[in-house]
């Protein structure tokens, strides 16, 4: 059975012939033969020079045109523009810049109708009330900032060529170093800034820093260890050595944790954040909420956010599970940035409507509404797993292959 490698302009470079014999039942002899053909076209010959040899793999022989990435980015940009226009319109209506617009309203009924649009102001004495479980929220915010910093820095450095798919494990190692060094300081600073100056928590800054450095990195390390144990259980030859595990442990406890403390120290030095409204002593009763405010809005925000990175996530998961190469780091960086902005703007719109319904518990609601994109991603992966009937053995081997060398 001959296999043919076809280039974009229909020139052939090699012809492979695969032969499968099945003489004895249960025994299969697999062999192949390769015929190399000299390139006639000079331009094509240049493509196979040593310095550009990886291009054919990184671009998958241009199987996916760059326009796919561009189109995805343009769609996200337009979505962001529309959402931003709605937010800006809301802000212009609410801010008292053009008072004459309201003064033109003469009749009592029209005034009543117009004043209703400011129903969100009813909770001005409760809107900045610190949330429940403020420590957990502060730790989550710190870890979120750390991950955002890591994702943006890694994709940007990969875009500039510091990390490449051609060097196995370089992206994973680079990402881990950025997560520990750069992200550590950011995580400590953000968690303390939120906890002390915004939530006005009473706990010591060292305790908050300890929680920040142990919670999410601990969960990540635990899950990674679980994967390693599973690989060891299946007697995989590509299990990461114990020395590598010790290095990771050192990176977490020896590098990340002290840097979190340093960041937390600087975060705790800030003054309390001044809010425009004073918080009352007793909380206002929240009226019965609609289905939209209970979950529909979160779902829409999550779908919008995940929709902006859907194309890139498809290629990234193809890289992880199907052994393909990913090289569009510029598109990835843009997508992460756009996804964050869309998530922010969508969350503002959803939160604004929530405030109009006099629901002042927006801290956790906005966090979970924006973060629900992670849940959508998980559901998508499960659906893909079921539809594609991914083999467990290939999954484990791919996971191990993605570990740093």
């Amino acid at each position: 059975m001959p296999l043919q490698t076809l280039c974009a302009n229909r020139s052939y470079h090699l012809l492979s012939f695969i032969f499968i014999y099945c003489d004895i039942p249960g025994h299969v002899l697999f062999t192949y033969d390769v015929i190399w053909v000299k390139n006639v076209d000079q331009k094509e010959d240049q493509r196979w020079n040593t310095d550009r040899r990886w291009n054919i793999y990184l671009t998958m022989d241009y199987a996916v045109p760059n326009r796919v990435h561009y189109l995805s980015i343009i769609n996200s940009l337009v979505m962001l523009m529309i959402l931003s226009a709605i937010v800006v319109t809301r802000m212009i209506c609410n801010l008292p810049y053009d008072v004459n617009t309201y003064r033109r309203i003469v009749t009592v009924e029209d005034k009543a109708e117009s004043i209703i649009q400011f129903s969100w102001k009813l909770i001005h004495a409760d809107v900045f009330r610190p949330p429940r479980h403020s420590l957990l929220l502060a730790v989550c915010c710190g870890s979120g900032a750390q991950l955002l910093c890591t994702a943006l820095c890694t994709s940007l450095l990969s875009f500039f060529g510091f990390f490449s798919s051609a060097q196995p494990g370089s992206i994973a190692v680079g990402g881990l170093i950025i997560f520990a060094i750069c992200g550590g300081v950011v995580a400590g600073y953000v968690s303390l800034r939120y906890y002390h100056t915004i939530f006005k928590g009473k706990m010591n800054w060292r305790s908050v820093a300890t929680y920040t450095s142990l919670t999410f990195p601990g969960i990540l390390f635990g899950m990674w260890l679980f994967i390693e144990i599973m690989a060891l259980w299946h007697r995989s030859t590509l299990v990461v050595p114990w020395m590598c595990t010790l290095i990771l442990l050192f990176l977490w406890l020896g590098v990340l944790t002290p840097l979190v403390y340093i960041g937390a120290y600087f975060g705790s030095k800030h003054d309390m954040m001044e809010f425009p409204c004073k918080t009352s002593s007793t909380a206002r009763q929240i009226p019965t909420q609609s289905r939209w405010s209970r979950g529909g809005g979160s779902l829409v925000v999550a779908i919008l956010s995940y929709g902006s990175i859907f194309t890139e996530s498809y290629f990234i998961f193809s890289t992880i599970w199907h052994g393909q190469y990913f090289s569009s780091f510029g598109a990835l960086f843009s997508s992460i940035l756009l996804m964050s902005l869309i998530s922010m703007v969508g969350c503002i719109l959803f939160g604004y409507h929530q405030l109009c319904w006099e629901n002042h518990k927006w801290w956790w609601h906005s966090f979970t509404a924006a973060g629900s994109a992670g849940l959508i991603l998980f559901c998508y992966c499960m659906l893909r797993f079921i539809l594609e009937r991914l083999q467990t053995i290939s999954v484990s081997s791919s996971v191990v292959a993605c570990q740093p060398a």
């Binding site: 043919q4 974009a8 229909r10 189109l71 343009i74 337009v78 979505m79 802000m91 609410n94 801010l95 008292p96 053009d98 008072v99 004459n100 309201y102 003064r103 009592v108 004043i115 400011f118 129903s119 102001k121 009813l122 001005h124 809107v127 900045f128 989550c140 915010c141 870890s143 979120g144 991950l147 955002l148 994702a151 999410f216 899950m223 994967i227 599973m230 809010f275 425009p276 409204c277 956010s305 992880i320 998530s343 922010m344 969350c347 503002i348 939160g351 604004y352 906005s366 966090f367 924006a370 973060g371 994109a373 992670g374 991603l377 998980f378 992966c381 991914l390 467990t392 999954v395 996971v399």
Partner: protein
Amino acid sequence: MLIYIGVTGMISLALFLMLGFVGMTGMLWFNKVVYSSIITDGHIPSTQVLQSGNTQQGVSPYIKNLIFAALCLTTLLIPAFYYPSQLEDYTVYFPSYSNDITYDPPPYDHVDELDQPLNDELKDGIEGIKEHDIAEVERRMLLEDPNIDDLFEESGLSSEKTQLTSTPFRCGTHLLHTFEHDSYKFIIFGTLLWIVMIAFSIVRKRQSARAGGKIYNSNQAKVHKTLTERRRQLRDILSDPVLLNDMQYRYGDLTALICLVEEWKKNGFQVDKKNDCIKNGRSVVVPWIRYMNILLILSVFVSYICLYGHLLVSKWFSFLSSCT
């Protein structure tokens, strides 16, 4: 399976935290900005000062709606405008491509049965290139034939034939692949079906929106509930000294409105069904039906443009290109 769930869970958790932080920070900033707009210092400018300060008329709501509709349509039509750019690719794959050749789609039955033995007409087309030209290229390259350049001309002739039987965008998206498997009859039938469905939907909605209809009754109940809730909110706003000051800053004297709210308060914020509900119901229900119908028609139009209008759009594009 467990490993897959573990890795996916890690990535999902990371995305959850990352976007959660971004969303909450954005919401905090927004709240700080909008709540700082509440006037708390008690300074209320006089009407004369305000009127002399800014007399410029605002943008008409029709223009605002038009801009919004244009933005929405642009978003939805982006895929349709994307297709003409595939022409460039097509010329790479098929150098003999010409805009002068009229597109002539193959019969639906023939394309659907590609697995079966092909007739001579189609062999000269799509399959002709696959089976004849590629095999010829392969043979001559292996033999290092010096006349291999002539082969490209032969390929060009075949590709011209291919263009007659295949859409010029077949190297592009899967979406267009659908078109190749459809015929005009199918599209016309689908369009007619949609038109009938829309007409039926409009008639049913209008019937239901009349007095005693299903939509009418349910919306009357909704309007009643909403009005009661709004009146209660208005009472709360005007009872709050901070917000009353803020509203007086915006709207001027609110004495008449406060008296009206007092009157509502005496009646227990109940709405007179015969007058208020019907009046408000008309302003809510009728536009709602109208907008729903417009949305339905627009969505059908846009979906047809996106799915089957690429040739039309490409012609516009080539016309504009020739003009410029």
